[in-house]
Amino acid sequence: MSSVTSSSIAPKRRRGRYFRGLSPFSYCVLLFIAFLSFFPFYWMFVVASNGQDVIAKVPPAIVPGHNFMTEFHAVLDVVPFGRTMFNTLAIALVIAFAQVFLSALAGFAFAKLRFPGQKFLVVFVVGTMMLPSQLGLVPLFMLMNKLNWINDFKALIVPAIVTAFGVFWMRQVVDAQIPNELLEAARIDGAGIMRIFRSIVVPVILPSAFVLGLFSFLATWNDYLWPLLILNSPDHYTVQVALTQLNTQAYGVDYNIVMAGSFMATAPLVLLFVFVGRRLVAGVMDGAVKG
């Protein structure tokens, strides 16, 4: 209590102190966190590029060695890594494009068009989103069996081409970025709905659509449980399935190979992140305010 009264004597000095400049300590904390964020990537490469004998000793090597190419070839002996990279890239791109396009259409409809049953259709989806995804796993797998889609990329792509997340994301985006006056004006000028979508909606929402595409691409690249269940021949593996196989087969034997595989699976994403990290940060934070 006494501190409260004493500090109120000089309110001017106190004004805005909550947002005063950062102490060196805060920067140290941030630097430490940035180090922790990056360290596992670095460590992947250290282990992957040093021989087994250098890793399995105390103290271990903490700088990269010269062995990476050896481990790289060892990985290729176990799984066809180039092939799996191509598979994953192709699947992720198809899903990202389909998801952006179909979500934009549905999002536009929900945000700007009016039709009977609109409210019910939204509530219906939100309601089922609350249920855990494991619930449908077994019947979905049985369905894929029936469709003869086991070990077929269709089983990964078709269920993912448009998701509730994408539709809601796009609904928010269209709602926020397209003024109704603009649509009204276009309609008075005689533009049809398809024309309005193509010439007005699409150009405006393109940046946000790109972020959704990125999220979708990353999610597909990193997906593991469902591909693990569906894919069973090495030439059909995605990167994560190949990594799991590598880990299972070399488990307890050779960490260097597994780490080399992990590094190869992760490096493209880190590279991508260098270019799009900013947009992803903005996307995450926008999503947070919406939710």
Binding site: I33, K112, R114, P139, M142, R278
Partner: protein, 329 residues
């Protein structure tokens, strides 16, 4: 306006006004008159989503209830009706209950410390004087883009008993070595640290966005009232973050029940360790499908998980109502 929102493509939902001009539907007198052509287009636009959703989303969920009453086996085509047998087995299955305990233990170690860390990081990041904002934010989000499997591989190596860097660091302060993977609680901590590493930065950004949305006036008046930094956090920031915290607990619970890649990678199989010390619910379900081929039992596990989700949601709802009833907003 900070550089952050300027660079973003922020959908601002508050721009929406209650009396906005309705596109393609002038409805004087309150009753909505639908335009036939417009409705047709709308249904066409949403139909791909509902088609996919009904076939691959809703139908499997509904059918799982049917599957759980049969003994489906991929080997033969017979699938005898067994009534409640799968559920009786589930309730009597010690590994199922062990997996429930493990899942909650991992969830606890992954969610609670992470929440405080994320809040602390966000408090640092929100300072307008911060330099290199985009760099720090990007470094925070970087772990989130990597695959859980690659990370589990690295962390598994770092938590190794003999040559793991964590035990080597511990030995410098005269502790250890700890057999992280073999122990029950220690393996949970190892898995929780992987989850925390992946998500703490992401959640910091969520908190940061929520903190940026708090009006500065509240702090100014708290300042004039002589509240110190801690009091300002406790009585201004924290109440304003209530919705974000609730949201994060819900998302964290859903994610926590899906923990799979980390224990699968750590063990190299779907057992969850030599004594199932880190078997999780999803790992156990997956093992029934992929290894044992007992689909009916796997479906029963899925229903068991759903029952748990409903119970947790109920408790969560109750607690949130209690807190809300305390008078803050």
């Amino acid at each position: 306006m900070t550089s952050l929102t300027a660079g973003g493509t922020a959908p601002k939902s508050h721009r929406r006004k209650p009396n906005r001009v309705q596109f393609k539907s002038d409805h004087p007198g309150g009753k909505v008159k639908y335009n036939k052509a417009e409705s047709r287009w709308a249904y066409l636009f949403i139909s791909p989503f509902y088609l996919v959703f009904l076939i691959f989303g809703l139908a499997p969920i509904l059918f799982s209830v049917v599957v759980a009453f049969f003994n489906w086996n991929p080997m033969d085509n017979s699938h005898p009706y067994v009534g409640m047998q799968n559920f009786h087995d589930l309730v009597a299955d010690p590994i199922f209950w062990l997996s429930v305990r493990n899942t909650f233990s991992i969830w606890f170690f992954a969610t609670i410390p992470q929440m405080f860390m994320a809040m602390g990081i966000a408090s640092i990041l929100r300072s307008p004087k911060l330099r290199g904002r985009v760099f720090w934010q990007s470094m925070l989000l970087l772990p989130n883009i990597t695959s859980a499997i690659a990370i589990a591989v690295v962390f598994g190596q770092m938590f190794g008993r003999d040559f793991g860097i964590i035990n080597i660091l511990l030995s410098h302060i005269g502790r250890g070595p700890i057999d992280w993977i073999e122990g029950s609680v220690t393996s949970h901590i190892a898995i929780a640290s992987m989850i925390t590493w992946r998500w703490v930065g992401y959640n910091s950004l969520i908190f940061l966005a929520a903190m940026n949305a708090i009006s500065r006036d509240l702090y100014e008046s708290a300042d004039l009232d002589g509240a110190n930094k801690f009091q300002q956090f406790r009585f201004v920031t924290l109440p304003q973050l209530k919705n974000t915290i609730t949201f994060m607990v819900i998302v964290g619970t859903i994610g926590g029940l899906q923990v799979f890649a980390e224990p699968a990678t750590l063990g190299g199989n779907y057992d969850g360790g030599d004594s199932q010390q880190f078997s999780t619910l999803t790992l156990y379900l997956f093992k029934q499908v992929a290894v044992n081929g007992t689909y009916g039992y796997a479906a029963a596990i899925g229903i068991g998980i759903t029952v748990l989700v409903v119970i947790i949601s109920g408790i969560n709802f109750f607690i949130t109502r209690r807190i809300a009833g305390d008078g803050s907003k």
